[in-house]
């Protein structure tokens, strides 16, 4: 909103895009806060085909530590977000 001349343009479009950008920024900031808060917590991961895994969440995109699989515990693993349907963590 601080850019000079923005208000004077006064078109519907510029007002709309400003509101969209604000909403996008707020939603994204909340998301990143929640993701960073999940780091190191024990998570449950639900994948396609009813596959469920337990793992400690490492970092987004989505890396996990100590992945528990039917074949044993993997010390670290990367999960592709496209393979995931949902994941959850307990609140502190």
């Amino acid at each position: 909103n601080s850019r000079p001349g923005e208000n004077s343009r006064g078109s519907e479009n510029s007002r709309d895009s400003g509101a969209v950008q604000k909403a996008r920024a707020e939603l994204r900031e909340r998301f990143l806060r929640l993701l960073s808060g999940a780091r190191g917590r024990p998570g449950r991961f639900c994948l396609w085909g009813g596959i469920r895994l337990r793992a400690d969440f490492g970092a987004a995109d989505v890396e996990s530590g100590t992945l528990q699989t039917p074949l044993g515990i993997q010390r670290a693993a990367l999960l592709r977000s496209g393979d995931l349907l949902e994941f959850s963590f307990p609140l502190e």
Binding site: V20, A23, R28, F31, L34, W48, L85, S88, L91
Partner: protein
């Protein structure tokens, strides 16, 4: 890309602080209070507070979402509870 992923941030924002039921692929259903929707991946983040249990956070990936139905609006108390999840203690250090 599904209908949910195509929504505008202004649409997603209307779900924040509301109790919703998310219908996902493979007949999964999730119910909880919306904390946010990631505008990049359309992932919806829900908080659930089961009685006599610790609450949990659930991230439903945008590509898995089929339908989101609003069940209830949040009151002031619930909004505060949700804000508490978003404001970790260490953020106080950055306050002026």
């Amino acid at each position: 890309m599904n209908d949910w992923q195509r929504k505008s941030p202004l649409d997603w924002e209307t779900y924040v602080n509301k109790l919703v039921k998310v219908v996902a692929v493979e007949k999964h259903e999730y119910e909880g209070w919306v904390l946010t929707v990631d505008p990049v991946s359309a992932t919806i983040v829900l908080a659930t507070f089961p009685e006599n249990e610790k609450g949990s956070l659930s991230f439903v990936m945008g590509h898995a979402v089929q339908k989101v139905e609003i069940l209830r609006e949040g009151d002031g108390e619930m909004e505060q509870r949700l804000a508490g999840i978003l404001a970790p203690q260490e953020s106080h250090a950055y306050s002026p």
